[in-house]
């Protein structure tokens, strides 16, 4: 570790801004951003699958509340949702003494809640669209086999819907990564937070922000690469033959 440190210091000799110390800030920021985005995406999917199924339900008391939820969360800026969850909750009397305060005291969990609700709303709509687009023939064939509705959902509709939703969902993941930059306004030291810190400390906006932009670019490209691979595998049956 010490050797690594010495090597770093050597490498960065004469550079006032990118010292081992500030790179440490960027590294912590990267870890926080990846954690935050990954967790909110996982929780978002868990929420979105049942919601997407419910959104296509014929029963109005299931369908409309879900529609209202996705409408509100897709219709308002993420920054506002974050402010509401982070600064809004403290106006509930006595929250500081309740068990919820463990969650709301730090900045991380309110941000995670806001991000999860936001991405779940978008993912619900993406999945709902994919489910609705299931080919009529597949459903008729499943019925002909005498499948019950839940079985049909599990075996026929959902697997093919997931595949069709993949490209759109890949975009949502990238959007979420970019949107996570707003976390820095509630004191979270994510990548953008680290960049703002370095900017404010050294008055070097260009260096601080272009460096962080490159990190975001690398993240985005790795996500895109994974989704391309996945699409190639899972959507192989949709590719034109022989190419």
């Amino acid at each position: 570790m010490e050797q690594l440190n010495a090597w770093f210091t050597d490498l960065l000799a004469g550079n006032a801004i990118f010292t081992a110390n500030t790179l440490g800030f960027y590294w912590d920021g990267l870890v926080t951003t990846v954690q935050l985005v990954f967790l909110c995406l996982v929780l978002g999917i868990v929420l979105a699958v049942p919601l997407a199924i419910g959104r296509g339900s014929k029963r109005p008391w299931i369908k409309w509340p879900i529609y209202l939820y996705t409408y509100v969360f897709r219709g308002t800026p993420l920054l506002i949702q974050l402010y509401l969850v982070y600064y809004g909750v403290v106006f509930f009397d006595g929250i500081q003494d309740s068990i919820f305060w463990v969650v709301f005291k730090q900045a991380f969990y309110p941000a995670l809640i806001a991000f999860t609700l936001n991405t779940a709303a978008y993912t619900t709509e993406i999945f709902h669209g994919a489910i609705k687009n299931t080919a009529k023939g597949e459903i008729e064939a499943a019925r002909a086999y005498g499948m019950s509705k839940p079985l049909m959902m599990r075996r026929i509709i959902l697997p093919s819907a997931f595949r069709r939703a993949l490209p759109a969902y890949g975009n949502e993941v990238i959007f979420m990564l970019h949107a996570s930059a707003v976390a820095s306004v509630v004191t979270i030291m994510d990548l953008t937070g680290a960049a703002s810190y370095v900017y404010a400390r050294f008055y070097a906006p260009f260096a601080a922000f272009s460096f962080v932009a490159v990190i975001y670019l690398c993240l985005t490209f790795s996500i895109m690469f994974c989704f391309r691979k996945l699409e190639k595998r899972l959507l192989a049956h949709l590719r034109p033959r022989g190419a």
């Binding site: 600064y87 403290v90 004191t187 810190y197 404010a200 400390r201």
Partner: protein, 256 residues
């Protein structure tokens, strides 16, 4: 005959004027208000504050009559160059950039920073031991942020806010235990707030210069070296005879 009379009259007026100038020199000082507690107006419109009182005391010391000229910050140095006033005493931080244009007196104050906490926080002194595991709030990228990051970054969590208002919201909410702010900022947002009961903790901090800068100076036109020198002497005298401390205590006393 008439011409002679006019000339002698004119001469007499000039001499009289010169004598009067020696009597009590007229000086004008530019200031931008409000910036509590450095310079602001009382409810009945009178200028007051640390700069104003110290400035008046210095003028008295050098036997000058001083008049304060209120000037917005943007035009405060051009106003000095245009001879709208002879000096600027308006919480102006000494730095090399300004030194190219104006001549600074010795620093007359280093703006203090202070620790603020709720009166029932249980923190009664500030050391790395007492802040262990606490959350410290600062404004991002300020000199207070740099100081706290370097000195307490290992033992405490640091929450960095874009504005002081965001910080105060989280202080009220109980998310941060203690804040380290510019004293004037903390006084107006925390000590004078009606929502919470806040106190300063420990001493005010304005050293080392590596973090807290060179301090505030009085700015003069480059060629007025004599005037700057007289103000420096006056400042030294006031610091020796206790007048300075008296004024300092009045505006920066600890609110326990």
């Amino acid at each position: 005959m008439k011409k002679l009379l006019t000339t002698s009259l004119l001469g007499a007026t000039l001499i009289a004027g010169a004598v009067q100038a020696q009597d009590a020199e007229q000086l004008r000082i530019g200031v931008d208000v409000p910036y509590e507690p450095m310079e602001y107006r009382t409810p009945d419109g009178e200028l007051t504050g640390f700069d104003i009182e110290l400035g008046n005391a210095m003028c008295e010391q050098i036997n000058a009559e001083c008049e304060w000229v209120v000037q917005a910050w943007d035009g405060i140095i051009p106003g000095l160059m245009a001879r709208k006033y002879d000096a600027i005493m308006s919480s102006m931080t000494i730095n090399d950039e300004r030194r190219q244009t104006v001549l600074f007196s010795d620093p007359y104050i280093k703006p203090p920073s202070a620790w603020f906490a709720a009166d029932d926080s249980g923190i009664d002194a500030v050391y790395p031991q007492t802040l262990e595991g606490k959350t410290i709030g600062v404004q991002r990228g300020t000199l207070q942020d740099n100081y706290v990051t370097d000195n307490y970054g290992d033992v405490a969590d640091i929450s960095r806010y874009t504005t002081a208002d965001d910080l105060v919201l989280d202080m009220d909410a109980g998310r941060i235990d203690i804040a380290f702010l510019d004293f004037p900022v903390g006084k107006s947002t925390l000590l004078d707030s009606e929502d919470g009961n806040y106190v300063t903790v420990g001493d005010m901090i304005s050293e080392p210069a590596e973090y807290f800068g060179e301090g505030f100076g009085i700015a003069f036109r480059q060629r007025d070296e004599d005037l700057a020198e007289r103000f420096n002497e006056a400042l030294a005298t006031l610091q020796e005879n206790g007048t300075y401390d008296e004024i300092y205590e009045k505006y920066f006393k600890n609110h326990e």
